[in-house]
Amino acid sequence: MNRRMVFSIIGYIAMAEAVLMLLPALVALIYLEPGGWSFVLSAAVCAVLGAVLILSSGTKDHTIYAREGFAIVALGWLLMSALGALPFVISREIPSYIDAFFETVSGFTTTGASILRDIEALSHCMLFWRSFTHFIGGMGVLIFIMAVIPNLADRSIHIMRAEVPGPVVGKLVPRIRDTALILYLIYISMTVLETVLLVIGGMPLFDSIIHAFGTAGTGGFSLKNSSITDYSPYLQWVIAIFMSLFGVNFNIYYLLLRRKFRTAAGSAELRVYYAIMITAAAVITVSILPRTSGAGEAIRLGFFQASSIMTTTGYVTAPYNDWPQLAKTVLFILMFIGSCAGSTGGGVKVTRVIMLFKSIGREIKRLIHPRAVARVGFEGKPLDDHTLHGVGSYFALYIAIFVCTFLLISVDGLTFEENVSAAASCINNIGPAFGRVSAGFFDYSGFSKVVLSLAMLGGRLEIYPLLLTFLPSTWLKK
């Protein structure tokens, strides 16, 4: 393990966070809020820590192997969350550090789960920082660092693999740095477009930016206690459609930019993703139709909630907690399917679900014809057994971590439905859950909040980086 290299890159992460914290300080300046000082102070802490890490661990060996990649990503995200919680605590707007940590992890992992009872009580700069963490975490902070700092390291593909969700991570162009730049350009352009569309629909600029951040990162932090419920149908449609767009694999957008429309439209993942989303929306629409004023409203609410949960955003336009059991069950299933690989969303990912079902199909065929030679194909290419096994064991691990989280938070005395949905909501990076937890996570104890924070990080980084970093054998010299 090249520890010096790991610590020096983590130092760069702290430095980057220091710079990013100046943006909410600027917001505080505009609204003349005293909370701005807590950002300046936190930025100074980050900068000093970053400088110490970079200077104390200077090394000539810039090689990153798989284990360094995992460690950098896991430790980097933990540190980023720990530092990102500082402004909330310093400004006393979220006085408990554990609460602030939960809120920041929820932000960076684009979960959108909150421990706040009254969101509207927060100052503008705090609201901005909360949502800005969604934006940073959505595409990934290390991708950002790789785009900004040239020649960060040889073999940095290992960092990219550990941070970008999905079973197979590919580059768009030969260089990682150019790939990272292209991804960020697509990401920023889409966010700006959404902000403009929201402003046109009459949403105030600040609210538009906050919601665009929440949508882009598929996070779900709003600035209203009622989330999106009180906004006009046009604004709800804009957000619903953009949520579904940010849940698409970003490679598709690159294909569109390169005018390869046929290849983009032929993507099996894209087709299955929209097929599931639209089917789910249709089922919900039918099931909630009697409770709404008409088909138009039912379709809007149904599609919005399906898109919001499947992309793991977590915005809300209706009291879904009071919906019929069928609608709630569909939403619960959508939580686990999640968005496409290579998007900003969480969950198991549509690609993996497709692969899982294909390998089940192959297994059934083998049982009937024990000598059958069956190759599983996906997106026009054969899948090797290595990838399929990887997907299978990832799913098993995912369920195991989900069960552990569920078990550990059960000590707090909430109902079965609340605990199951809260655990699913955190590991899949969604945000709201059922029952009392649909309003927020404030009923959970400090212990459960830490457990849920780790579940959120595990879900965002796809478990392995976090798991490997806490194994002693990763660090021992062997």
Binding site: R155, S156, I157, V173, P174, R175, I176, K381
Partner: protein
């Protein structure tokens, strides 16, 4: 610059490594998923898994927009087809690896022309040429030639070498001949020496001199060994075929040993030369080697398909008192170990080809047209020797060398003017149409004006558009 490389085998990955190091955007295509996985992990490049002669794979790799397209799979036919398709799709320059001796004759020029292949490279023959030069001149570890006028010789200084222990400026007075010590590698560090530096035993040095001077000079210094007369080659490979041809035409007797009967028969039929004795037997068997007169040989060259076997056979021969051994090693990691074990001339075909390709890539990249005439990696690749042609717009024509402020670790090792080779002194000037050999370490030179430290002076950039780099080139037989 966008470069597409088809084939990520031993040669392919060596090429990819040097192109990535040069800072190009590389896309690799290979049909073997394991090779692709390996290469994705090691270099910052894009990889496509597929057949290099399949248009779908070429499209996915954006071969049409490639400035340089290199096909180096195992199969010559695939390479030619891939190059042809890529050229039709719009690739600017195509290079094919062609190994089969049948293709490597005069008629191949027609094929290249028809398929629009810019250059055919043959690692086997390149390696053979390199070994031939070493055998002709056994004191050197490595020799490169610039336009036939200059030689760049790499030597390892022994403990009793007369070159050690005196400043270089004194050395030049002691041996009044035209030579220049250009670069020194001492304990993994390479530097360009100045007049006050002294050489030490164990140093690996690179020096330039004209070919006639070299023999005499080294004779005076007492480190000349005579050219080989009898050479034993282990392994009847393609490299052995090319090498035998070159050796016999220089009047050197050759004995080739291979354990595969088929290979021996094919070898002797194809070569059809009475000066070459082909023996069917195990080249790793010490008694056979001794029986075939190993101790009377001037040199032994091991060219079997196995790196390990080559290293061991050469070590045995060196131990048995053969004055010169040359060893072909495909894997660079093993080559380093072989050198540590004491083998002096280790030939890595991938390295030879990759420096050839780097030269080509730089020439393509240089929008002014090709003024890089030759590029060689010397001293384990830690320094480069590049031959530039001086264009009329070079801003330092007629200025004495000592008045040009060169960048650190850059040296002008020689100037070729017409048919004359000059070892420059400070008063020498560069003239139009000269060819200048520049030795550099730690730089990446694209054109001759890059050697000047631009911090001190700001030379006017040439603006004229020279004809694009093209012309069908291939190795001559």
């Amino acid at each position: 610059m966008n470069i597409v490389v088809i084939g990520a085998g031993k040669i392919g990955s060596a090429i990819i490594a040097s192109l990535v190091e040069e800072g190009h955007d590389v896309t690799a295509v290979d049909s073997n998923p394991r090779a692709i996985e390996e290469i994705t992990d090691s270099y910052d490049i894009m990889c496509v898994c597929g057949n290099g002669a399949d248009v779908d794979a070429l499209r996915e790799a954006s071969a049409g927009s490639a400035k340089l397209f290199v096909a180096c799979t195992e199969s010559d036919d695939t390479n030619m087809l891939a190059c042809f398709l890529a050229r039709r799709m719009g690739a600017a320059h195509t290079i094919a690896r062609i190994r089969n001796p049948e293709y490597n004759d005069d008629s191949f020029g027609f094929t290249c022309q028809q398929l629009d292949i810019s250059e055919a490279i043959n690692p086997d023959r390149r390696a053979a040429t390199e070994i031939f030069r070493i055998l002709k001149f056994p004191s050197a570890v490595n020799i490169e030639t610039f336009s036939g006028r200059f030689e760049l010789i790499e030597l390892v200084l022994r403990d009793d070498s007369p070159l050690t222990g005196i400043p270089l400026s004194e050395l030049r007075k002691k041996y009044p001949a035209d030579f220049l010590i250009c670069a020194v590698q001492r304990a993994a560090q390479t530097f360009i020496p100045s007049g006050s530096d002294e050489l030490m035993p164990g140093d690996r040095i690179a020096m330039t001199a004209s070919p006639y001077v070299v023999q005499k000079l080294l004779g005076k210094m007492g480190i000349l060994r005579k050219s080989a007369k009898d050479v034993m080659i282990i392994g009847a490979s393609r490299t052995a075929f090319y090498l035998s041809k070159q050796l016999t035409s220089a009047g050197i007797r050759v004995k080739v040993i291979d354990s595969d009967r088929e290979a021996c028969v094919r070898f002797s039929t194809e070569l059809n030369d009475p000066a070459v004795t082909v023996i069917n037997g195990d080249g790793a068997s010490q008694s056979l080697l001794l029986e075939e007169g190993l101790s009377d040989m001037d040199a032994l060259v091991s060219l079997t398909g196995s790196d390990e076997e080559n290293i061991l056979i050469s070590l045995f021969a060196a131990g048995a008192g053969v004055p010169k051994t040359a060893t072909k090693v495909n894997r660079p990691e093993l080559a380093q170990m072989a050198e540590k074990l004491g083998l002096e001339s280790v030939i890595i075909p991938g390295k030879i080809v990759s420096s050839q390709l780097s030269r080509y890539a730089r020439a393509v990249q240089n929008s002014e047209g090709s003024n890089v005439e030759a590029l060689y990696r010397v001293l384990d690749g830690s320094a480069e020797a590049i031959e530039f042609r001086v264009k009329p717009d070079f801003p330092y024509i007629g200025i004495p060398l000592r008045d040009m402020s060169l960048q650190k670790n850059i040296l002008i090792g020689g100037i070729i003017r017409g048919r004359r080779a000059l070892i420059p002194t400070g008063t020498e000037t560069i003239m139009e149409d000269d060819r200048v050999v520049v030795i550099s370490s730690g730089h990446r030179l694209l054109e001759l004006s890059d050697i000047v430290d631009s911090g001190n002076t700001n030379p006017p950039r040439p603006t004229g558009v020279a004809p694009a780099f093209s012309a069908v080139r291939r190795e001559t037989v």
